[in-house]
Subunit: 430 residues, 2 copies
């Protein structure tokens, strides 16, 4: 049966998106019930609820559901032949200030593909699966693409098990939370022991390019490189009222100079540098901070460009720390870098790109689709290290994401779903 | 009996200082048991313990002890005549990273004065008291001189009752904690209903001047003006990986520029500006912060100088916010100022200054004493608004304070105590 012959259920995808937003709906920004964001941190109670829901829905479709040792969920729809499934994957966890689409669109469109198969009595040549990857966001446990990177063998499960949450007042580990919500599965978290044939991901762009260029679909050919560091600045706790400016070692003043400098370095190298978390000690109004730690998220289209940025950051931060608080008599401070994670630049698989391109061009015309790279990391970066991977973007209103007001129209969501459906069928036919 | 005739107990004061450090000893910086700081936040369990201890010790000396509605403790030693007591006051609460001397020296030297009276069978003309003022530090509840300012009528008790702690993971109010530890007394917190005749305070300098100038005693003639603000910067939460630098409204980048600018303004005006607390939202590595709030502590020797600094800060911060993240296309941010507390410049009472000066010059020679002003606020700033007030400094090693390594030698502490003893007797004789 050719792909175009499948009948789709218009509006069902967007209905499912808004239905599942009940698991963590937060931060109303409009008057309609659908006008809120979603806060569904990885392995939280809300995340458990959506995982349970996903389990039930895919079960109804006749899927086999595998839960691996790091909480990834694989729902496999049977094909005519057995073999590794062609998968569609993304994530159902969100940022604390998350929207309704980031990650969610990808998983629920995958589900919608399976529902469409079922409605049409369509059986693919090989199994087709939907994956809900655990902790893509790196918000509660501060490392993005966490569980997909374990599956891809880029990290061990032991490394992530011990990571602690940063959004709970009493930090808890990944292992603890996997056990607590009942998602520490027994399937090996490994691309060899639990293989897939290919990975397709549909995602909102989270940036302004498609909207600005009035395109419907982004045929994503790669992802920029990025790295996360924890930077620690050490000065001296002293009294704000009695310590002359020239004899201070003010860790916050120094850290502030670094935040400003990082932005300059990003501009200069056509990359991005951002500080999202900053903590200080002792955090008292009349005590000069003796310690500041902050995260540094640096990105560039190329691995080489990112390396240049990192070298400059390290050099300049050392200089700022050594100089102290800016006068001859001020004391030098110390700066340390703790590496958290590097996601190298990714180039997606040519065959998968072709499936996406043929699918989108046929649906919306070549003039409405563009090839582009992604600014954000995605679980597809992990899978791309091991299996053919393809990626699809739809526009994000005003390029806003990681914000409750994140928005794509129902039509844009459906466009993305159709592109995904046809791309997967094309790949299955290869 | 003339003052000089009183026999003192050498070493007892410093022994008492180290004994009471058991209530909150923390952060060892050397190998001796006395080489730690003290963490005794206002109205904490440790603060209750030291208050109970102070109650018992002054009771033993025959004092009447009054506890007022905001937790201030007045221990009154009887004189030959009745009437308002000449008081020696300071505070037993500390910073989270506090030392063994800040405030503590003043209260325990007051106690040592009373013990000396008792040992010598000395009865002053009028009652002499020791006051332990509640929450001088403004660390746990972020307003310094909290309860002395209520006593002085500079603030109402209702205003401080509702203030919330910033060092507890679940904030609690002042009222709640006063009740919890049993120090919500029934004596009116008011200089008219519970009057004192005069206030003398001995304190460590917490700055480098006495040490640098090789002086034993600072005859403090006044205190610089200071103000605390809470500054709130509002930007927009967006994805760090997909949002071009030019379309950001990064509240932390803007706040960092403000921290740097505040330091410049302080330099330019020969004042001080410091940021001790900074919080941001949503505090996720890959989300641009949409909100940053920070405390701003600004100081100057004169009220006029402080006003100039504040005007410049407000003007420059508005400009920084309006300009946005530095490029033509970036969005403006918002900045708001919440005033917390102003402590105007203080000039102590001439008679009290004279008592201190005569006392210190007689003990150590004029060449070893200097007149100076204090960089830090003290409870004496509050009392000075209502009654004759005098103030004494001893040197602080390296000018370090609000730090566990805060240190003054046993001899320096005893010098301060002797100066206080004789100054109070002189005032009592007037
Ligand atoms: N898409 C997305 O938000 N991924 C999280 C990893 C990143 O920060 O790029
Ligand atoms: N002495 C002292 O630390 N006082 C607290 C008030 C201030 O910050 O000046």
């Amino acid at each position: 049966m050719p792909a175009k012959a499948l009948t789709i259920a218009p509006g069902r995808l967007i209905k499912t998106i808004h239905e599942t937003a009940q698991f963590g709906a937060k931060f109303a920004w409009g008057s309609a019930s659908t006008e809120t964001g979603v806060c569904r941190l990885a392995l939280s109670d809300e995340d458990k609820k959506v995982k349970d829901w996903f389990y039930e829905e895919t079960k109804k479709l006749g899927c086999e559901i595998k839960i691996d040792e790091v909480g990834n969920m694989f729902a496999i729809y049977p094909g005519k032949n057995t073999g590794p499934p062609t998968c569609m994957g993304s994530h159902l966890d969100t940022q604390p200030t998350g929207g309704r689409y980031d990650g969610i669109l990808g998983v629920l469109s995958g589900l919608e593909v399976l529902r469409t198969f079922k409605d049409n009595g369509f059986t693919p040549n090989y199994p087709v699966g939907v994956i809900n990857w655990m902790n893509e966001e790196g918000a509660r446990f501060p490392q993005s693409l966490m569980a997909s990177s374990v599956w891809a063998g880029l990290q061990t499960k032991e490394e992530i098990y011990k990571m602690e949450s940063v959004t709970d007042s009493k930090p808890v580990t990944v292992k603890h939370e996997l056990e607590r919500i009942g998602y520490l599965g027994d399937i090996p978290a490994n691309y060899e022991a639990n293989p897939i044939a290919a990975h397709f991901e549909l995602h909102i762009e989270q940036g302004p390019i498609l909207e600005e260029q009035k395109k419907e679909i982004g045929i994503v050919v790669g992802v920029q490189a990025y790295v996360w560091y924890n930077v620690i600045v050490k000065g001296k706790a002293q009294h704000t009222g009695t310590t002359p400016l020239n004899s201070r070692a003010d860790a916050l003043l120094t850290a502030s100079q670094m935040v400003v400098k990082a932005n300059e370095i990003a501009h200069k190298n056509s990359g991005l540098c951002s500080v999202g978390i900053l903590n200080l000690e002792p955090a008292v109004a009349n005590v000069i901070p003796n310690k500041v730690s902050f995260t540094l998220d640096a990105r560039h289209e190329t691995d080489q460009g990112l390396a240049t940025i990192i070298n400059e950051l390290k050099e300049e931060f050392e200089l700022i720390a050594e100089k102290g608080n800016g006068s001859k008599t001020s004391k030098p401070l110390k700066v340390e870098f703790e590496h958290i994670y590097t996601s190298p630049a990714v180039h997606f698989n040519e065959k998968c790109i072709q499936c996406v391109e043929e699918s989108s061009n046929a649906l919306f015309g070549e003039e409405n689709c563009i090839k582009m790279i992604s600014g954000a990391g995605h679980d597809s970066c992990s899978t791309s290290a091991r299996v053919p991977t393809g990626f699809i973007f739809i526009p994000s209103k005003d390029g806003v994401s990681h914000n409750p007001e994140e928005y794509s129209t129902p039509e844009q969501c459906e466009n993305g779903f159709k592109t995904l459906l046809n791309a997967v069928i094309k790949y299955d036919e290869l």
